[in-house]
């Protein structure tokens, strides 16, 4: 447990010192979302109809951009070697780093999402499910993305490759995340979709740290 808190504390401190990184991700989320009214036109009902999906897609892309660096910095400066040799189970270290990533990028994305939803005229009933769905879905995004980020360590075109590897795996999260918002807009309960998202999170928490650890071990080999 101490390895978990130590790594988490260090990554949070680093993110705090380099808070511009987190802000850039949030800024990307905002600008990408703001592009949509220009693309589809500013009609209120059109925007309201697509708001949930747009916010989910842009949040996925923003998270993906930041995932690129989750292990790359440690890999390049030799810290990853030392973390593998920390004597603590590597999946625990992985979960700590993923937690730190989620706290420093996932949470800010969730916090600004209602603001961006306002610009897309999301009806009032959608806000609660949107935030809840992001809250349950973004940890899975970080967990699954970590596997991809570990796999592309040392490749020539890590960032683009990461999108190709990870985006297909995000489709279930996107489907149920958007469906949760849409259900609320049509007056249906969104709890079933939120439960499925919670189920995905549990599954990802079970499998992804092991896969990430295996990928990291072969990356330092």
């Amino acid at each position: 447990m101490s390895a978990f808190s130590t790594v988490l504390a260090r990554d949070l401190r680093l993110a705090l010192r380099q808070s511009a990184d987190s802000l850039t991700v949030v800024a990307f989320f905002a600008i990408a979302t703001v592009l949509f009214p220009f693309g589809v036109g500013p009609e209120t009902n059109v925007l309201a109809r697509i708001a949930g999906g747009v916010l989910w897609v842009t949040a996925l892309l923003a998270a993906l951009l930041s995932l690129d660096r989750i292990f790359a910095v440690d890999f390049e400066d030799g810290t990853l070697d030392q973390l593998v040799l920390a004597g603590a189970p590597l999946p625990v270290v992985v979960v700590a780093k993923v937690c730190a990533h989620w706290l420093t990028t996932g949470v800010p994305l969730i916090l600004v999402s209602p603001l961006l939803a306002v610009t897309l005229h999301l009806p009032a009933a959608g806000y609660g499910p949107l935030v809840l769905a992001l809250l349950l879905g973004t940890p899975t995004v970080s967990l699954v993305g970590a596997v991809g980020a570990a796999l592309v360590l040392g490749t020539r075109r890590g960032g683009v490759l990461l999108s190709l590897l990870v985006l297909p795996l995000y489709i279930p999260i996107l489907i149920f995340g958007t469906a949760a918002v849409e259900a609320a807009l049509t007056g249906l309960p969104s709890t079933p979709m939120l439960s499925v998202l919670a189920g995905f999170m549990v599954l990802a928490l079970t499998f992804s740290p092991w896969a990430t650890a295996a990928a990291l071990r072969q990356a330092v080999e």
Binding site: V147, L151, R156, R157, L169, L203, A211, A219
Partner: protein, 246 residues
Amino acid sequence: MHRFANPTQFMRIADAVYPWAAGLSLILFLAGLPIALVTSPPDYQQGETVRIMYVHVSSAWLMMMVYGIVAANSAAFLVWRHPMANLVAKASAPMGAVFTALALITGMLWGQPMWGTFWVWDGRLTSTLILFFLYLGYLALGDAFEDSERGDKAAAILALVGSVNLPIIHFSVEWWNTLHQPSIIKMDGMTVDKSLLLPLFLMMGAFTSYYVAVLVLRLRSELLAAKIRNARMSQVAVNQAAQPAE
């Protein structure tokens, strides 16, 4: 199991299988194509378009079988470090990607007369498209490293992650499909007339034995590539001090 881990042993079996697979494939194509194209009756609902089914279902069958083979061999490679398992996965994946593309395109050609459009976000077509992206990711990752051994391992891990995710993706897409397009005609509900089964099985058999035969050729090719790489490597190291090898 260790019998198959040894490349020489493995290739002895593979080489013995090769003429049978190649011959069987040829015979099945020669027998299946005339039946599929000429003698089998058109479907009472779909007319002659049903003939597309014979190639579509065959390539769809192979795309799934090959992904299963890639995933199983990746697991064997990661767990037992069997070099031949790695080569089987590596040699199969590009074929799987081509079969997936073929399944997609023939699916579109089949769907156009049926639905009046080339593309619908039908559960099967969508899942096939995602599987195609998984294949592309596997191929791109395996190719992205300077050190090909690292590429092999990374791609193997990705294949396993993909195989865990595929059922989840399939379930999600099916659910999403029923949510948004409940009225679309679904391929699943179609009952296949008995007269269509013979050409279908002949073509599936022909495709499968084709895959096995070409796999053996590709394994020979991969083994040669590995030997060339080793030879190059040892030439680089040839100025080092000499001691008897193990």
